[in-house]
Point group: C2
Chain length 430, copies 2
């Protein structure tokens, strides 16, 4: 029995007929079937399962390819494909998801790219669903990006699943030291076999971004649900705010760098680092402390959660605090007060940071007395830093500072635009 | 030494001169001083502290009061004050925060109310910072609201701190059974001694809401940062999305019921329950299971967090999943895979629910194979329910269903508008 075969399968769940799809990674005992209805099911292969091969293998369609002629007037860029919808194609006959591997496949999929850049190289360091990514993958991507830029690429596009794309964007922002060229992260909210495929426009706009002067890690995704233009958003100030819309990613507490159309580029926010000469080298400074956690506070929550992370030897916590930066302090029920636990954690050398649960706006520890008490106890108030960015930064900072006092300074410092002391009015719900 | 005295205090931190403020609740050993600079500091009272009284007590300003003349043509409403900025006044001389206790004080503070409703009664079941509230306070408020409505009030206004106002709004939505009249929750983002005080407009619009036909628990807060109009937002579909703006509360995945001006009422969304006759009685159905928790998933997170809640005998978890409803399933590093832990929790009788980390949009377990596996394992996919609402609902549902199968049905059912299968386009970033 091979991928593409038409089979009849008898299991505890009944009898099913369909075409064999590739099994999910790391789960080879799961038989995936594309049923006649078009729906996919997974059947666990145990002794009770009986399989009858009904028909010969349906041949997988070959990707169309288009060889790009090098155009000396266009800049050379590289693409790093990491998995996710954007770098995939669905085979209509089998329903199998295949991954694009070569420049000529990408060009065939999005032919407009050839008019914008020379897509010199595609590397695929791994293929992972974005929810499965951790700092290990962030590190590999950063190393790969640095390699390509130092080898002469004028810019790099990274394709990536969208679930945790904003976390990776923040990670690359901190890890790519001395960055002097554009790095564009793109994903797709709809797969390439659907009419509503958004990845094409995202890739085209990412290529345009790679030609710009903005030497920042940006996320390039739809600016509105229609297929019109994209936004270039700072990697540390962007968040996924919708499960399915094409314009799910929004800048938070900052305006986007630019609006980008297929053939137009409109600068919105000039607060960016300029492209430097090709001789400057970028470093992938990827050390990361994984013993960091994000804790979203909720009403009535027991502060014992801090003891848990203490017992697991965590070194840093980002607490998504309420309002301007609060957790319960002076409570009638002493069991619900957070201050003693927080003090204990800080005394044990854990970095305790607060970031805003509201996402938009900044914290302020000086308005209410309980916040002042928390601040005085050593809690780091991270201003308007997104909780997701704060978590990534904390892991990076803790790996880069032997002394706690240095780590604290770094957390409060504005390293790559993660803090914005002057949030413009229009940035709210942009 | 009394509140209002001018004192000189010598402590480890140096010598400070200022006026004694009331100590924070439950922290009587903290001396709060208003310094000449206007800044407040807290000094821990231990043996080393020396205090010299310099001047006589500065008398607290008395609230102005205005006695409302009953107007038979206006409806009678009640107000329940629970703490927070909205029901407070700052005394200019001492900086002390005082709480408004009587209808005539509220009327003096917001005189427009007298032209809209007869504010018959103000009750203050407790005074608590909103971050300190838990289900115990939600229950007390629900009981108080039901009592007032059943005693003949045409509507009830609840004033509340803003940090967790949306959690309380969700709790009242589930707890007030057979509600036939409007219930308006309001807060203030700026205190009443500031020119930018927003509480007045919020209270006026809440009074207008109480005259409407919308028999729902709504949150009434600014529609834009300017002091122009308010939105009436369903208690289960609203979230605080900014730390400080006056229009911090936004409807999520649904349009607001109405835009409300001082003297205008514009219906936006007619999907609401109509006011019923005055004979119908509302019940405060307040049972709540506090052993529920909200866990926000982040990349690289160890699924051992589930073991922790299992060991603490929790009965339900809401996991803020990524994208359309994902946590890592088929991971190379087996330690990062969530499925075994989730299965173990479900086998132990814990209700495991997924809600969208993106806030906007709905989950969909049928797009990607890992989500199907999680769904098949028994994870409840809560559609477009806000994580905060899901947590509150889970605690309420678990206390209201002896059988797990009933609890599951209730979680997936649309009880009070917490699910919206038809989200309008304009609801995104409204």
């Amino acid at each position: 029995m091979k991928v593409g075969d038409r089979v009849q399968v008898q299991s505890k769940d009944g009898v099913h007929e369909g075409i064999v799809l590739p099994s999910p990674e790391n789960q080879k005992n799961l038989l995936m079937l594309k049923l006649v209805s078009g729906y996919n099911i997974g059947i666990k292969l145990d002794k009770s399962v009986k399989i009858k091969v009904l028909g010969a293998r349906t041949k997988l369609e070959k990707f169309p390819t288009v060889q790009q002629k090098e155009n000396k007037s266009l800049p050379n860029i590289s693409l790093i494909a990491t998995g996710g919808t954007i770098g995939s194609r669905v085979d209509y006959k089998t329903g199998a998801v295949q991954t694009l591997m070569k420049p000529e496949e990408f060009i065939a999929n999005v032919p407009e790219l050839a008019g914008i850049v020379n897509l010199k190289k595609i590397s695929r360091p791994f293929a992972v669903w974005s929810e499965n990514m951790s700092h290990v993958e962030w590190q590999k991507i950063a190393v790969e990006v640095a390699k390509e830029l130092n080898a002469g690429a004028e810019g790099v596009i990274v394709t990536h699943g969208t679930d945790t794309l904003h976390y990776t964007a923040a990670a690359l922002s901190f890890m790519l030291k001395n960055l002097g060229k554009p790095v564009a992260l793109v994903g797709g909210q709809r797969s390439s076999d659907r009419g509503s495929f958004d990845g094409a426009l995202n890739l085209i706009c990412a290529a345009n971004y790679c030609k710009s002067e903005i030497a920042e890690v940006s996320l390039i995704m739809h600016g509105e649900d229609a297929d019109t233009y994209c936004l270039a958003m700072r990697g540390t100030k962007v968040r996924k705010l919708h499960t399915s819309r094409r314009d799910a990613f929004r800048p938070v507490n900052e305006l986007p760098f630019a609006k980008i159309w297929k053939d137009k580029f409109e600068l919105v926010n000039a607060n960016y680092k300029r492209r430097t000469s090709n001789e400057e080298r970028v470093t992938a400074d990827v050390k990361f402390e994984p013993r960091v956690a994000l804790v979203k506070f909720f009403p009535g929550q027991s502060p014992e959660i801090i003891d848990y992370y203490l017992s697991k030897k965590y070194r840093g916590l980002v607490i998504e605090a309420s309002g301007l930066g609060h957790v319960p302090v002076d409570t009638k029920d002493k069991k619900l007060g957070w201050l003693p636990k927080i003090k204990k954690a800080i005394d044990s050398g854990i970095l305790v940071c607060f970031a805003p649960q509201t996402l938009y706006g900044g914290l302020n520890q000086f308005v209410y007395a309980p916040a002042r008490q928390l601040h005085d106890a050593g809690v780091l108030y991270l201003g308007d830093m997104l909780p997701e960015t704060a978590l990534v930064k904390l892991g990076w900072v803790l790996a880069h500072s032997k002394k706690l006092v240095v780590a604290k300074q770094l957390m409060l410092a504005n390293l790559v635009g993660e803090l914005n002391p002057r949030i413009p009015e229009e940035a709210f719900l942009y």
